[in-house]
Structure formats: structure tokens, C-alpha cells
Symmetry: C2
């Protein structure tokens, strides 16, 4: 037994230290393609904050890298193993410690699954908005690490906006508490927000105090068919410009619609170039939906179909939620971009993406949180076809380059990981990058926390 | 002429470097009491980013401290001069560069007055929520520096939530761009949020991209009279627990009501112990107001008076907005606490504050953003009475201590400055403080940016 395993085992129950090579391999990757992973030395699966501190103290003493993990549904390789590392899985720290309707907060451990929390707070008439596609599997800790978004963001914003305070185990095992339980607070630097989205590179989140909202009425949706992505994007701009705040505003292009139909037999319109879904969760959504429908028609929609009731709305959303899985099934592998551009540049991004697909002879489907300008161009390819895989990777990068050129960001909600590391340097520039390194040094002087990720 | 003035003047127009001692003295303070200020060496009033860079390069070369300033309406001494410093006033960088209704953003220079921006965006049907009491005077740069709030926060949150990206001149004159123009983005560490609320200690904000919202309907308010602060705080908890999201939820105690009447002759009820104001800015506020009124009555309200129309609502808000000025007039000087506690502890904070006032033989009026648990206990005293001033200072500190004991924070929206520096250390603890210092070093290795403030 290596010194690492021996010392880890000294402070953890036997079942919390995994070393079987097959098990190690099964923990080595998140869901991102094209991201290499090293071979971990061990997986630690603590149940308590003290056990996490023991892992970090051990790793610090031996200068062993530590990679924290949630459900490994991430899409950028941030949770992938680094050679010889300890994979620190927070999955068993999965308790909801408190739900308080007066304070509108929940206090949770990092391994709580997003959907579990959402359902638990709903029982108190409360609402935890962040809803990434993987919400039935992904954990709050993972959401915090990557800064996840979802369909809700056009009205409710991203995960960061719901994190009031954190308990964090630092690289050397010390415990840091950030933020607050109160609705407001500006005492000192915003370390909470600094840690959200830092992909485990600054500390291990072992607890979170989350802001909740009052549960809104069930949302009512409409679907609008457009003869071009240009027209659909024009409608998005007109809807936002007119002062509407839909609870979601989503776009699926023809490739995506076909993929969803192939998988689900849902019978979505396949001849249309783009389908827009808009919904409102206000007490009286009908006039809003009507106005949005008219704006869609004015922008060139050929058909506008309001849902009859929340159940029909939910069906439409199911189609949208199935998009990524459906696109993945088209050719067996997919690579999901996450470029976010100003709304006014959405049409240019979609047009440019279509050109990139054509130039590389590839299938790229686009679904988008259109109201945010956050697109997920998804390259569908056969991983066994080396040339196609190479073209897929190239097109993926070209889409990020295009996004930056259009004034956007390389990641709206999926994070950087290893997949977009070189692109992050491009987006941030040298001054920002130097400050990032200074902050990293202040938190993790020996560089043991998820090294080689983000920057 | 000193070397500092000579070198400053080499890159700034003559009228942008002020050295007259009377002028220097007039710039040396913000509006906080009990905060010492040094004598500045100069005031620099640049109009361009390049001029700000020149100031910082000069200060960096000569290791001279720099204190950035907006309208100096701050309440914690953060903008006070440090001995021998350059006061860097951003007041003349006051252009609104862009308002974009599709992207729902505004791009501004730091010297833009909050009310000027709010009115300008309203012309586009847009809404910039943060509304500190000083909104007619304070600047966006100052709001960003201190992390300001206001009456809007219970529904719309604080300044930080509206800052998408920043242009920042660093200590050595380099230019940093943080954040984005897009609705979402998680590329790298959240340097934007780190700088918001850092009180000029990490860099000089020279530009900001702000998120806007669609303008809501005019709000409709009700006023409820309570026989005790306990009953009023109970009503606050029941209102939030019932899932209401008012656009404001404010409390004034009897001392405050009397002070406002004395100043404005508004005829507010003086025999009531606490007045609660609640408002909604939804399309159909009447049912909500009715429900809130019933909750108030159930909590013990003796009178519930809904406003007839938005104009009458505005009158009620005027009374609330006059509170701090009115309390200041009671004995000529006032000292405003900014403690924020969990809503459930609001009653305990108000009770404890009353005890502190009695023990010290002082008048302390409380107005509060009650929906946030953010209170402003305001100590009224005669500054010429040395003993009373000493007791005022002691009571001010005791209220912060009480706030921390109740699980709150020493500052909900006013910042730390010099006034609450020792209390910040108390709130954060040594681990957090060490990380604060590490971050400060990464941004400002020679410690020239607003030294001696925050921590």
C-alpha cells in the first residue's frame, strides 16, 4: 500500500477509499469529449467535512493533486482525473440540512442532486431556479463548481445568483466560511462569488447556503415556427426589446428538431428551420403570450401555437430538454459548444455555425437559450472516423472563435475545464490571467487543487 | 511644486490637478461620522481613462497612496483621505456611453449619478433597480465601490447583481477588463464581483456594463400601523413566508416617524410603535396588497391603509426616504448602523437596539429594509457633547456586536471603510482575512490603493 493510501485510510472509513483499477477508471471522466484524463491514485468518498479536511491535509502533506467531483455530468473535463491524483467525490455528502421559508434559504451539502433539492423546496412553496439539462443527476456542488445555468436563466439567472454563502475546505485542510445567511451583505470581498465557477481550483465546497424564491405559477408556453434562423433570432430581439421577461425563451434548429423526433417520435415540425419556445410563469400569462405570438408573426413566423395548458407546455419543454441526448444519438458522439453572444448577434452566430458545418462537411445542430444569447451548437460525429473527429474538434474551436469575434464568451454556463483552457486565455487576455494566477496562489500555494484546469 | 504634483500635472490638464488647501479639505471626507481623514497631497479630477492611468502610474512610481472617490455620500469613511494621498475623483467621468434595449444593458463611466442613469434608461422603457437613499447624488462608481442597495433590494437585489463587466485601472496603471456584455458567462474567476464592494482597494473602476430590467408597472403601497416593533417584525416574517415578493417592505419606528413629522409636517401616525410599508409593482397589485394587509392585521396591526393610487404611494415612500435626513436633524449629528440579520431575528435586533439606547440614555431611531432584515439603527446625538458622542460610538458598536450574535452581518449595503474595519475582522475570522490579504497583494503589491480601508 502506498504512503498516500495508507495516510488517507488512517482518517477515513475503509469503504471511503477506493483503489480498484476498474473503479478508478469509472471515476476518471466527466461527460466532455476530447478531454484527456490521467490515472487517479485513489477515489475518496467522504461523508463528513472532517473527512474532507483529512483528505486535503493528507494531499497537502504529500503534494498530491486533488480533483473534486460531483455527478460527473460536466461538459468541459473539469472533473477529469489528473495523473496520480486523489479524486474527491462529494456524492455521499448529500443531505439537505435546512429549508427555511421565512429566510427563503436552503442549507445543503454539496452532493445533493439538483432535482432532489428542487422537489424538496417545492414542498414548502419555494423555488430553486437553476435547472441545467442534467438536473435529475447533477449535484449542487457540481453546479456551484461550474456555474451552471439552464432554461430558467432568461428570467432567473444562473447558479451564482443563488449562492449566499459557502463552507469550503482549503488546500491545506483549513475551513473557510464565506458569505452569509442574510438576504443582503457586503462585508469584505465577495469570496463566495469568487469560488462559484472556479471548478474546484480554489477549494472544496462542503456546504452551501442557497437563496430560494417563492414558487411562481406553472408556466404556459407557445411554440413558433420560423422559415429561417435569422427570423427566429429577429423575434428573440423584438421580444426582449418590447420589455417581455419570459420564464424561458428557447430555440431549436431543424437538425435538432429532426434528432428529437428520431429519438422521441414527438412529431415536432421538421420542415421548419427554427422553432422558438416562449413561456411565462406570471399569474396571467395569456396576454403576454398573445403579444409574443404577434411579435413572432411580425418577425416572419409561419405558425404560432400556444399551449392549451401547463401539461401541454411541459410536453414542449420535454422536447427541448431531450435535444442534447437526441443530438448525441445522431452519429454516436457529440461535442457541445456553449458560446454566449449578445442577443443582437445571435443570428450571426447561427449563420456562421451553419457555414462552419458546411465547410467541414459536418452535422451541427443548434439548440439555444435564445433569450440569453446562450447557444449550444452541437457537433455530431462518429468518433471511430478519425478524420471526422478531427474536423469535429476543429469546428468546435471555430465556433468559439466566432463567438469571441461577435463580442461573446466561450462559456455561458458549462465552464472551462481542460476543453476550453486555451480559449479562456484568449478571452481573458494576459492582465486578467495574471490576476487569476495571483488569486490561485493565495488560495492554493502548492497548486494541488485541480491543477491544469481552467487556466 | 512637489515631484508628485509635477509628475501628475505632466499628464493631466491644469484644471484636473487641485492643490488649494481649502479645496483639498473639502474633498477629504465622505459622509461617515467618527472616521478620521488625513490631509491629501492633491485631488486629481480626470476626464479620461488614459488620465486615470497616468495618475496610477505616477502614484505607483512614487509609492503614493490613491483614494478613489465618487460623490462622497458614503457612510463608512471608505472615501476619506489617507495622509499624503492623491484623491482620485471620478466625478467628471460622467458619460452614459450606451443604452441598449435589446441587450438590456447600459455602459457608463463611473461618475454618472444614479438618478441620471435611472431616468435615462426609463426613457427606453428600462429599469436600473439599485436605489440608495442618496440616489439623487451618488454615483454608479461609488455604488459599485461600496456595493450599495436601497429600497428595491427585497425584490431586485443589490448593485452587485447588476454589474456585468468592468473596466478597471490597476495599481500600476494597467487596464483590466472583466466580465462581459452578454446575459450569461462563466469564463474564469468572477473578477467583476470581486471588485464590486472592494471600496477601491483592488483597482479604479473607470467603466461599467450594467444589466437593466424591463420597467415594471408603478408600484402601489400600503401602510400598516403596529403597537410594537415585535408585531411589525412578525408581520414581515409572515409576509415573506406566505410567498409574497413585494417591491419594497420597509419599517420605521416611532422615533423615526416623529423625526420625519418634525422635518416634513407629513402627519405620519406618531402614537404607533412601528409603521410598515409594503408595495407591489406587478400588473395587478390589489389582491396582493389585500393579502398582505390581512397578514398585518393577523400579526396585530391596528390600522392598515392601502394607498389609493401610485401618487399616494409615492408620498408614503417620500416619508421613508426622508428618514435618515430627519433623524440627522434630531440632535444635529447621527451615526447610521447597517446591520443585516435573518428576517426571523429582526424583532430581536430591534428589541436589543432599544435596550442599548436606554442603557446609554440615547435616542436611536430605526428604519429598516425590513424585507431584507437590513436595519439602519441611527444614533442621534450632539457632537459637541463629548460624553454623548462617546456613548453614541459605544452604542453603534454594540449594535454591530448584537447583529453578529444574531447571525447577521455588520453591513448590508454601506460597506466597511474605516468605520467598521475592526468589526469586519470579527465577522470574517482569520482564515478569510488571510485570503483577503492574498487577493489584495495580487492586485496591489505595493499597497497604494486606498490603504487602511476595509481590512
Amino acid at each position: 500500500m502506498s504512503e498516500l493510501i495508507e495516510r488517507l485510510s488512517a482518517g477515513l472509513p475503509a469503504e471511503a477509499v477506493l483503489t480498484d483499477p476498474d473503479v478508478l477508471a469509472s471515476y476518471a471522466h466527466d461527460m466532455a469529449g476530447f478531454c484527456p484524463a490521467g490515472t487517479p491514485a485513489a477515489v475518496a468518498v467522504p461523508r463528513t467535512v472532517e473527512q474532507v479536511r483529512h483528505v486535503m491535509r493528507t494531499a497537502d502533506a504529500l503534494r498530491v493533486p486533488v480533483v473534486p467531483q460531483g455527478a460527473r455530468t460536466g461538459l468541459s473535463g473539469a472533473a477529469n482525473a489528473v495523473e496520480g491524483c486523489v479524486l474527491l467525490s462529494l456524492l455521499r455528502m448529500d443531505r439537505i440540512l435546512e429549508i427555511d421559508p421565512v429566510e427563503r434559504i436552503a442549507v445543503v451539502e454539496p452532493g445533493v442532486v439538483n432535482a432532489t433539492l428542487s422537489r424538496a423546496v417545492a414542498e414548502h412553496g419555494l423555488f430553486y431556479p437553476p435547472d441545467p439539462s442534467s438536473w435529475e443527476m447533477c449535484t449542487i456542488g457540481g453546479n456551484i463548481g461550474t456555474g451552471s445555468g439552464g432554461l430558467c436563466c432568461v428570467k432567473y439567472g444562473v447558479t451564482a445568483e443563488y449562492v449566499l454563502g459557502l463552507d469550503v475546505v482549503l488546500a491545506d485542510g483549513r475551513l473557510l466560511s464565506t458569505g452569509r445567511r442574510t438576504a443582503k451583505g457586503v462585508a469584505g470581498y465577495d469570496l463566495t462569488r469568487l469560488i462559484v465557477g472556479s471548478e474546484g481550483s480554489l477549494g472544496i465546497v462542503v456546504g452551501a447556503t442557497l437563496a430560494l424564491r417563492a414558487e411562481p405559477p406553472q408556466q404556459l408556453a407557445l411554440a413558433a415556427e420560423f422559415p429561417s434562423t435569422d427570423a427566429a433570432c429577429e423575434a428573440v430581439c423584438r421580444i426582449m426589446e418590447a420589455g417581455h421577461t419570459p420564464s424561458l425563451l428557447e430555440l431549436m434548429d431543424r437538425t435538432t428538431l429532426r434528432a428529437v423526433n428520431d429519438m422521441t417520435k414527438m412529431g415536432l415540425p421538421e420542415t421548419t428551420e427554427a422553432l422558438l419556445l416562449a413561456a411565462f410563469d406570471t399569474p396571467d400569462p395569456a396576454p403576454r403570450l398573445h403579444a409574443v405570438g404577434e411579435l413572432c408573426t411580425a418577425a416572419g413566423a409561419t405558425e404560432v401555437v400556444p399551449a392549451e395548458d401547463p401539461a401541454e407546455s411541459e410536453l414542449l419543454l420535454k422536447a427541448r430538454r431531450a435535444a442534447l441526448t437526441a443530438l448525441d444519438a445522431v452519429k454516436g458522439t457529440s461535442m457541445i459548444d456553449d458560446v454566449c453572444v449578445p442577443r443582437g448577434r445571435l443570428a450571426a452566430l447561427l449563420k456562421g455555425t451553419a457555414e462552419i458545418a458546411e465547410r467541414h462537411g459536418l452535422t451541427i445542430g443548434v439548440c439555444a437559450h435564445a433569450g440569453d444569447g446562450n447557444t449550444h451548437p452541437t457537433v455530431c460525429f462518429d468518433a471511430a472516423d478519425e478524420d471526422e473527429a478531427r474536423r469535429a474538434r476543429a469546428s468546435f474551436d471555430e465556433i468559439m472563435e466566432l463567438g469571441l469575434r461577435l463580442g461573446g464568451t466561450i462559456t455561458g454556463e458549462h465552464g472551462v475545464g481542460t476543453l476550453k483552457k486555451s480559449w479562456l486565455a484568449e478571452e481573458l487576455g494576459p492582465v486578467s490571467l495574471e490576476l487569476h494566477r495571483g488569486i490561485k496562489r493565495a488560495f492554493d500555494p502548492h497548486g494541488i487543487l485541480n491543477p491544469g484546469k481552467v487556466f
